[in-house]
């Protein structure tokens, strides 16, 4: 149930984000989610796409430094406190969240949270036990 995210090293230079997106666009890669983590000098672009391995290879071929990372995407239930429920599950466990970000799925307008855990498999078991919907690879392709 883990998903694969692509992380790309970017200098904080004008137009670099555009360069990546236009390369992916030209090659018909659909970007499901995108976030940028920044320091003063550089940034890490993290994207979730439908074909992560092929896309990473494409990026590397074009001179980008890119790596694949296991992430876990969960659906935030459409009810008050939906987000809090998820965070509560994690906060009482001993699983570390390295980082997280959210996006909204287009068709259903559902909020999805992406986590990078130190122990993703353990996290998935725990989340499922608490009836939290973990999104699989097939579903992300369909989003």
């Amino acid at each position: 149930m883990k998903l694969t995210q692509i992380s790309i090293f970017l200098e904080n230079r004008k137009g670099r984000l555009f360069d990546v997106c236009s390369l992916l666009g030209k090659n018909k890669v659909n970007i499901r989610a995108l976030t940028v983590a920044e320091s003063e000098q550089f940034g890490i672009l993290r994207i979730v796409v439908d074909k992560p391995e092929a896309t990473a290879a494409l990026l590397k071929k074009h001179g980008f430094v890119a790596s694949l990372t296991d992430i876990v995407a969960v659906e935030v239930a459409d009810k008050p406190g939906g987000l809090a429920d998820i965070l509560k599950v994690l906060s009482v466990s001993d699983i570390n969240v390295e980082y997280m970000y959210g996006f909204v799925e287009r068709k259903s307008d559902k909020a999805i949270l992406v986590f990078r855990f130190d122990e993703p498999d353990k996290a998935i078991v725990l989340l499922k036990k608490k009836k939290i919907k973990v999104i699989g690879r097939k579903e992300i392709g369909d989003l």
């Binding site: 992380s7 320091s39 550089f42 890490i44 993290r46 980008f64 990372t69």
Partner: protein, 433 residues
């Protein structure tokens, strides 16, 4: 005032006789006391007793920086370490640092040439001098100290850094002379303005600035900002430290004290002396040093020399400001940095050498800045900012501990660093020197 009028204003023929005598002595001395030199002389097929005059110097072999490193620590010394009075060390490229040592006589010589230098810049006994060169293993601070002591200046051994305190000392004690790196003089001016002080009202009237290359433009700026005379001093620890050459108040070249440090200007490729006035590599023979005398030491500094008598009365030849290096050494805030040193650090951290480049810059009124660009590859890259930050910090700390110089580290994308013939250009010096 001329500190040693006899030696500094000597008739050129007499000077040549003294240089000849001294060369014979020193050649004999190193041949008898240093096995490395004995070997070098033998390999070159020259015996010290075949040296008849200073013109025979070209028969002697060169000494290069690597000779010092290869014979670390005391292999190039001509005395037993126990007979030294002082030892100085500068950071090494790939392991071995450069060690120099002084006997009591050498320290006396150092004081003598530095006293000549201060006088040359216009100091007179009883002047107050603020020495803001670093004290310690770096030769700048103590060299200036010995010279000031020798000529009877009142010494304020401020050492480098702590700018506010430097300015307070200047304001309260009113020293007439300032000795530090030129970029530190500029930096202090900015700090002074920020503190609401007027640099032009400062007590400093004479600056003895060295340990890094600087331009005429920078001189003008320092002189205008501080309302002082800014003079250039030259030296290198292998020869003695500061005090090899110094500008007089006419600022028409740096008087090189050639009765004790014999200069040659050579074509670095052929090793032959160039015509007077032409640029070439400065080669120096220490004619009177005892601890670690060096024969025909290749300084790697590019200068030209002129022998005509100066308006100040000195006959000691004058070298131009340093216009470059024959190697890729850069001087940042008075510290010698070789790209190979940085390379060694990066290699140590990563196991393999990433593409890197050194960017040196000196923004207006700022100290020199050294930025190390490192290309991020698959191996270095981490998905987490904090890991990449930690990588940057590690490089910074490691360079600081090995070279003693603070750098900025910038991680860049692959192929950012321009390559020519497949090789990256290691140093980009943006300073206007």
């Amino acid at each position: 005032m001329i500190w040693n009028e006899k030696m500094e204003c000597m008739d050129l023929e007499d000077l040549k006789n003294i240089q000849s005598e001294r060369l014979k002595d020193i050649a004999e001395y190193v041949y008898q006391n240093n096995p490395v030199y004995k070997k070098k002389f033998d390999a070159a097929g020259i015996k010290p007793w075949e040296i008849k005059s200073i013109d025979d110097i070209k028969k002697l072999p060169f000494t290069v920086k690597e000779d010092l490193r290869d014979n670390y620590p005391f292999g190039l010394f001509s005395v037993q370490p126990k007979n030294l009075a002082e030892i100085h060390v500068s950071s090494g490229t790939t392991g071995n640092p450069t060690v120099v040592g002084y006997t009591k006589e050498d320290l006396k010589l150092w004081g003598e040439v530095m006293a000549r230098a201060f006088c040359c810049a216009g100091a007179v006994p009883h002047d107050l001098i603020q020495i803001a060169y670093g004290y310690g293993l770096f030769t700048g601070g103590l060299g200036a100290h010995y010279g000031a002591m020798e000529m009877g200046l009142v010494i304020i051994p401020a050492s480098s850094g702590q700018t506010k305190r430097q300015l307070k000392i200047m304001n309260d004690f009113k020293p007439r002379i300032l000795a530090c790196t030129p970029s530190y003089a500029m930096y202090m001016a900015e700090e002074a303005k920020e503190l609401g002080l007027k640099p032009r009202d400062s007590s400093w009237k004479i600056g003895v600035f060295g340990a890094e290359p600087w331009s005429e433009a920078m001189r003008k700026e320092i002189e205008n900002t501080w309302n002082m005379l800014a003079t250039d001093i030259y030296g290198l620890s292998e020869i003695i430290g500061p005090g090899v050459a110094q500008e007089c108040t006419h600022k028409t070249g740096l008087h090189l004290f050639s009765d004790v440090f014999y200069p040659e200007i050579i074509d670095p490729k052929t090793g032959h002396q160039v015509k007077e006035g032409n640029k070439g590599e400065l080669v120096i023979t220490t004619l009177t040093k005892r601890g670690i005398p060096l024969i025909r030491y290749r300084t790697r500094d590019i200068v030209s020399i002129k022998y005509e008598k100066c308006k100040c009365g000195r006959t000691s030849p004058r070298i131009s400001k340093i216009s470059g290096r024959t190697d890729d050494m850069i001087i940042v805030r008075g510290i010698n940095v070789f790209p190979s040193q940085i390379e060694h650090v990066l290699l140590g951290i990563e196991g393999t050498l990433p593409h890197y480049q050194l960017i040196v810059d000196r923004r207006a009124n700022e100290l020199d800045e050294l930025e190390v660009w490192v290309e991020v590859d698959q191996k270095i890259f981490s998905d987490e900012i904090k890991q990449l930050r930690a990588f940057e910090d590690k490089i910074k700390k490691e360079i600081d501990s090995v070279l003693g110089v603070y750098v900025k580290v910038k991680l860049v994308e692959p192929k950012t660093i321009a390559r020519s013939e497949g090789k990256a250009k290691r140093v980009v010096d943006k300073r206007v020197l």
